[in-house]
């Protein structure tokens, strides 16, 4: 999930009786599964929540390019290099697409990016972990994109039209990335040397728990979920999404011949789900607060890119204005 802990600014969900006629018409539209479009009236809190959620999602796409950028210059074969470059390019595209969806809500891309650089806006906590061997490129595709898909498949039905349509498009590409990631790992496990197999297990050991944290805190500790669910900005609870992800991932893990770093992970016949051990939420909140292993590097790399590029963007604007002037004069 690329947007965790999205603040709604709402303490308690209003009942239909408590709503103004506008609010009520809006809620009834949502209840009837009719998409909200940019020109429709919407409560300010809904608008702000979506801006926060979509911008977090867009920031995650962009920051998420950095752990891959760490390996794209070292990809081991032409095929793997091309795959990774294409994936990174897709992510830049997703970022652009999501920022556009966000702008339909009246938000400004540059202003939201400023919030990322000042630490006010969040992005997915997973990208604050380092990528330490090539298998991480497989594990990121499989687990991180995999977790994102579980969330985004559900978000294809989200109530805001432009976001829902962005999700439909993005999901197709993410599924491709996930299969590619899994294939990287499978090749290393099936045809690789012992050193390569060790890389795969090491990558899974490091990324397993952070991937589970991507779904955000447990429902009991997720104060904004009720309003987001009522608005159908969110369509399944964090815990349900996490369970779904674990249930579909464990058989793939076994097929790889690898293990998860969780001694409590086992099939529960009665529940029809996998049980799993406690998540270290202290780590999650720490990373979210900025104290993860790579928070500082990720944000400063992004900030530097935008600061160093200021003169380039200014030149492009100045040149376009001069051209316009010449055209008008002609």
């Amino acid at each position: 999930m690329y947007a965790q802990l999205v603040e709604t600014g709402v303490k308690r969900v209003k009942s239909l009786e408590e709503m103004t006629p506008e609010e009520r018409a809006f809620q009834e539209r949502i209840d009837a599964e009719i998409k909200i479009e940019p020109k429709n009236w919407m409560p300010d809190a809904y608008r702000q929540t979506l801006i926060r959620q979509i911008s977090q999602h867009a920031h995650s796409e962009i920051v998420g390019m950095l752990p891959e950028g760490n390996w794209v210059t070292r990809a081991p074969t032409l095929k793997r290099k091309l795959q990774l470059m294409a994936k990174i390019q897709d992510e830049a595209g997703h970022g652009m697409y999501l920022y556009s969806a966000m702008e339909t809500l009246g938000a400004d891309r540059d202003a939201e990016i400023d919030k990322l650089h000042s630490g006010k806006a969040k992005y997915s906590s997973i990208f604050n972990y380092p990528t330490l061997n090539w298998a991480d490129m497989g594990a990121v595709g499989w687990l991180v994109d995999g977790a994102a898909i579980v969330n985004q498949v559900v978000l294809q039905r989200t109530s805001y039209g432009p976001y829902s349509r962005a999700m439909i498009r993005i999901c197709k590409e993410e599924s491709f990335h996930q299969r590619q990631g899994y294939e990287i790992l499978l090749t290393m496990m099936r045809h690789g040397t012992q050193a390569q197999k060790d890389m795969v297990q090491d990558a899974i050991d490091r990324l397993w728990w952070p991937a589970l944290m991507m779904f955000g805190p447990s429902d009991a500790d997720s104060p904004n979920s009720a309003q987001s669910m009522a608005w159908k900005v969110k369509r399944m609870s964090n815990d349900d999404l996490r369970q779904r992800f674990i249930d579909q991932t464990v058989p793939q893990l076994e097929f790889l011949g690898c293990t998860a770093p969780d001694p409590d992970l086992k099939w529960n016949e009665e529940r029809g789900h996998y049980d799993f051990g406690p998540i270290n939420w202290q780590e999650f909140y720490d990373v979210l607060k900025g104290n993860g292993p790579c928070n500082r590097e990720r944000v400063s790399t992004r900030r530097k890119a935008i600061e160093d590029g200021a003169w380039v963007r200014e030149a492009a604007v100045a040149h376009a204005a001069k051209r316009q002037q010449k055209q008008n004069a002609a």
């Binding site: 962009i62 390019m65 950095l66 891959e68 950028g69 794209v72 210059t73 070292r74 990809a75 081991p76 074969t77 032409l78 095929k79 793997r80 290099k81 091309l82 470059m85 294409a86 990174i88 390019q89 830049a92 595209g93 970022g95 652009m96 920022y99 090539w134 990287i184 090749t187 290393m188 045809h191 690789g192 040397t193 050193a195 390569q196 790399t301 992004r302 530097k304 890119a305 935008i306 160093d308 590029g309 200021a310 003169w311 380039v312 963007r313 200014e314 030149a315 492009a316 604007v317 100045a318 040149h319 001069k322």
Partner: protein, 254 residues
Amino acid sequence: MTDNKNDLIEYLLRLGDNAMINGQRLCEWCGRAPALEEEMALMNVGLDLVGQARNWYEYAAELLADGRDADQLAFRRDERAYRNTLLVEQPNGDYAVTTAKLFLFDAWHFHTLSALSASSDERIAAIAAKGLKEVTYHLRRSGEWVERLGDGTEQSRQRMLAGIDEVWRFTFDLLSSDEIQQRLAAAGIGADATAVAAAWQATVEQVFERASLPVPQPASYFYLDGKRGLHTEHLGILLAEMQFLQRAYPDATW
């Protein structure tokens, strides 16, 4: 054909190495470009180039027939065996240096692939024709950036001038030709380097004029020669990074 075979292998490696090293430098921009649109464009151009490199290497590997495949040509050759032009191995610098590098290379690449599209070697003609579609866009894009930066603000103009100054000296190596090229051009297989150089000069003059940038005097002989594996010190470091996994785990399957 056999007479030309060794020439042809050399020539294919030059084409492949130019695309590969340029693509590698573009990978270094990941997450660091001045705008999201540029992030996409740079990776897109890089992707085209690495794809083209693969095509040239595959053909070279078939002709070599010594058991090496395209990956081994890319990831297991040392710097003295690399045949790329000096220009593409230069560090990225700021966006003006990168723009200058890309544009000067793209103009050469465009005219070279245009000529190779008519090669009597069908395989070369096919790879070149496919690449030419991509490179036509590369040249338009980098040419537009030369214009934007040259004509944009005072700062961008100064940086663009400095960027051109930084890499112009490598254009001697880019445009020069040797006996291998001459023999292949005479056989109708390779591009005529003199004709490519003249077309390159015309393209550069045209774009620089639109950008109000002076065209420097032709670059002079530089003592190094990428075609013979005499590189600047930057290539060795670049390859150390790019080839790391293949070198560290020679028995691995990726």
